[in-house]
Symmetry: D3
Subunit: 63 residues, 6 copies
């Protein structure tokens, strides 16, 4: 029943599959909870919807 | 002011209206907080962005 | 695999059990997803950590 | 490392930039944590995916 | 109905009241949504429960 | 700037350090984003505040 949420930018399907597989495996090992119990949510955010240090990521990238 | 968030897959507008109505009603009854105070957020996730047991839901469904 | 999160104030164990049971049941019916697939997280917040309309709930309650 | 998340409706890019800038600035001042350390996530929700008082916002707006 | 969540470390009550007041005010102005409609959640996390760059904040602070 | 959140039960400090280290490392590799950019939040939930399949985890464990 642990829930892992990853807030990131856009990514291709292959990276999603890898993230879900690898993060579940690692967390399952560390917490000694079977992989079957894990739920993973991948949240893809537009560069206009993420800010760091008070600026949009889309503006930082454009520099 | 309670906030109920539902992370699920895609759904039609009718199900959204039902979820918001019924979950608010039930939670309002149980917590004795007026329905007016509730906010509900429905998060629709692509099958490629949800993992269970270390695998994408889109892969599990395809089997 | 749907995840329902309830952000609210402090509550007793009985209300938690009811929330988990009733919200899962309702959402399961509406979405046609078996109850077994649902995870529910109940987040209890102190009145000092919730704000509505720009004021702490603890201040609003005190009035 | 603080993370500020804003769940709201759709908005234009200018409002996003302002939200990220102003909320980071204010929170940085209040918490005495440098602006560089802040991450901000802006979540735009469809009117059909937000409920208040047990009703969809899209229904409330239509009235 | 916008919901602003601030994930941060421990803070005193005065800072919570300021955060709720100032972030609501700013966001209300920018989004042209009345302050009354805003919910704010302040999440205080232990230094052992926050990581940056792959290390616990409690370890970084100790250096 | 990616944010990884792990919702789980109580755990000791060593497991937290491992989770933060290993999940950041894996996600950094997969997404090709430097580890420095990652924030991780570990949320420890009481067994009375987690539900699966409509029942509190504390009740399931007691069986």
């Amino acid at each position: 029943m642990p829930v892992i949420t990853v807030e990131a930018g856009k990514m291709d399907r292959n990276k999603k599959a890898l993230l879900v597989k690898e993060l579940t495996q690692k967390a399952s090992e560390i917490l000694s909870i079977p992989e079957q119990a894990f739920v993973t949510l991948i949240k893809e955010n537009d560069m206009d919807n993420i800010g760091t240090g008070g600026r949009l990521l889309s503006d930082k990238m454009a520099k």
